[in-house]
């Protein structure tokens, strides 16, 4: 997995602009916009059989995967996405929730989802994931026979509250290694996530 710190695309100078008062020394950090390529989230067990295996955990602040039991925001295995908030859903080998994370699925583009709708945020609970797994119910469509492709649903933006109360939005672009333009479920390796995300590092700021 490699993380490219593309650019601090949208730099919010709101603080600076309004900051005529020198006493106000709270520094506003720039919003980070990044592309993650080939985050490998393997699972064991075949499709249709019980699946198991350790989840791969990701932290939005560092933009890296982590093995920490606490400092993670989302955990991925196959098509499953868990968040570090709430309680165990009952899936085999899932990590303990230690943080305050929550999530929801927004309709829009990375450009159009510009703030968090806090009322829609949900935690993982028993038998229920904040980001559901399943074709057409979460972030992807499974085409079934004959192509068997897993395709991220266009216009689906995943909005997260991180384990430590910051916000991030994410658009998954591909489930296949190297994000081919025309993936082939039989040729390309799957369970390799490529996604864009925007991280809002300022505590309590719900805008992107």
């Amino acid at each position: 997995m490699k993380t490219i710190k593309l650019l601090g695309l949208i730099v919010l100078f709101l603080g600076f602009a309004s900051c005529s008062n020198d006493d106000d020394i709270t520094e506003t950090l720039p919003v980070e916009s990044n592309l993650v390529q080939n985050l490998h989230a393997p699972q064991e067990g075949e499709q249709g059989q019980p699946v198991f295996g350790e989840f791969v955990k990701f932290n939005f602040e560092t933009g890296q995967t982590t093995t920490s039991d606490t400092d993670w925001d989302i955990a991925l295995r196959g098509t499953i996405i868990l968040i570090n908030g709430g309680e165990k859903t009952g899936i085999d080998d899932e990590p303990n929730r230690t943080g305050n994370g929550s999530a929801y699925i927004a309709n829009g583009t990375m450009g159009s989802v510009i703030s968090v709708d806090a009322s829609r945020l949900k935690e993982d609970t028993v038998n229920s994931q904040a980001i559901p797994t399943g074709s057409g119910t979460g972030w992807y469509i499974y085409a079934g026979s004959p192509t068997h492709l897993i395709t991220p649903i266009a216009g689906t933006i995943l909005v997260f509250k991180t384990h430590d109360g910051k916000y991030a939005k994410m658009e998954i672009l591909s489930y296949y290694k190297d994000a081919p333009a025309n993936p082939d479920a039989f040729e390309n390796f799957d369970k390799y996530y490529t996604f864009n995300y925007v991280y809002q590092p300022n505590e309590g700021d719900t805008s992107f």
Partner: protein, 688 residues
Amino acid sequence: MQKLFLQTLILFIFSLTYAQEQTKDSTVVENLEEVLITATRTERQLSSLPLPAQIISKKEIEAVNSLRLSDILSEQTGLTTVSDFGGGEGIQMQGLDSQYTLILIDGVPLVGRSAGTLDLSRISVGNIKQIEIVKGASSSLYGSEALGGVINIITEKPKFGFNGAINYRFGTNNTHDASATLGYRKEKFSIDGFFNRFSTSGYDLVENDFLNTVEPFSNYTYNLKANYKFSEGTNLLVSGRYFTQSQEYIASEELRGESSIKEWNTHVKLNHKYGEKWSSYFEFYATNYQAEEFLNDSEELLFSEGDFNQLLIRPEIRATYNPNDKNSFIGGLGWNYESLERTDFSTKPEFNSPYIYLQYDANPTEKINVIVGARFDAHNEYQSQFSPKGAIRYEINDKISVKGSVGYGFKAPDFRQLYFDFTNSTVGYTVLGYNQVTTRIPELIEEGQILNVVVPITEFEDELRPENSVSFNLGSVYQPISELKFEINLFRNNIQDLIDTRVIANKTNGQNIFSYYNINKVYTQGLEFNGTWKINNYLKISGGYQLLYAKDKDAEDAFKNGDVYARLTPNSSSFQLKKDDYFGLYNRSRHMVNTKVFYTYKPWNLNTNIRATYRSKYGLYDTNTNGYLDDYDEFVEGYAILDWAVNKTIFKKYELGMGIDNILDFTDSQNINNIAGRLFYGKININF
């Protein structure tokens, strides 16, 4: 095959140069008024009808050397044959799917829509007098299925004396079509028999797999019809038809078997005239359609089998009353009994549906014709349907007339949509009929086969509603001179409660469970244009065009509200789609065009024709997984089919013919499985 074709060509050219006795055909049979029965269930002149209707004559069918009903229908304006996943070739009319067009033979319906489509290639056109097409909802006379329109195949009546014909056509893909008719008619009695055998070795558009696109098959049609005139006013018709087909069924390298169809129809009709004003018809019709298939594995052990056995029995009485020249009434009373046994059904469902209809046809002045009618269908499984219709025609002058009609049409949910319980044995997906969902889903959850339920089963507690439509047609016929005719028709079908399939649950094997549901609102609208020009006694040119917009209203709203997104490639960022990006329903082409040139050279007893049909691009799937067909999906590209035929009569009784279908050799192995590529053929007819 090509060699055989060349031989025919040589024979043909030889027969052309052969010194013919130059018999001048002096019989004047031109401009006989075309009469049809389908539009009103009474004989009516085509030109005087207030409804959009069309007749395909035997002459045209013979000139283009059609074999099956699908061949000839696909060349008509606004009609296109679409293939179903079950393999059948159905007809799309005014942008409505094939299950919404009622197919009749001599006024009584064919059954056997195993996957919704009535396979038109089942029907041989060898003994057809004419094909009548009425567009627009016609449930006011015909009840269920006549939502988009009605196609009625009128079989030939024998000529006086003893006569018959033998026809044989052979062509590419080892296609052989042989038929024989034998007829006898005297004053009071007539009988005629028809036999047809069709066989083909099929064809393969995709190499490197074990399947053919169409596996070899052969079928037989037998038809026997007798007519007895007790008196001037009393007539009895008894008719029977039997059809049987068998085809190789290959699912994979290991799994091989056979599929077969057996179908019979019996039709008895007694009509009696009570003086000038009243006449009555007593009709009894029964038909049975059976389809069976099996697959064996490599060790010849039975892997899977399926059967489908549908029975329809319909007694009907109807009466006509003509108080005077200007007014006529027709009314009918009947009962449909229908049952189906099917492998993937948990029950043997039965439908009982009594019905009544009445129609009034009036000419208040010479220039105006009005038809109003209605029908009431009661049903044991879904709510009763009342289907009214009204139509008016106004003749502005000798050259121009306008006509308009409004009608209600419906299609009852079929057995499959209610009772299906099917799991594909090789792939593993499941299809549940609407009435099965509330019991089967909990059972499947219990068995651990369900990963998650997408649509809650509480949505299946109400009845599935019949699909219904209100159709509007507004047209004009303009005939500046007798040789030149233009027709235009604007149509709009507002369809409600359309039944479609959707995923209702995901299975643990990675496949889905599908069931049926009522989509809220769909419409099809457009215009149809036809022009015919008889340049002289030798040359006739005709052309047709249909413009079509077929859209789902909910989808339109979703685009309008900006709820739909797409990506340029599967790995790029998504963007919002605009209202104009919505293309419409699947498998609908915006433009369909046909042009035909018929040339007759009487001194040589020769006729030839060249026909072109074009269909613009259409979408088959939502390829970018946003749930809608939009401009960023992959489309099936537009295509044209060009056909040529030539026929020559020698020694009066013999006819030789040949031709090439699909001259441009168009195929699309990915998307279109019912277009085989270029086909050469030769034919011979003997009349006696």
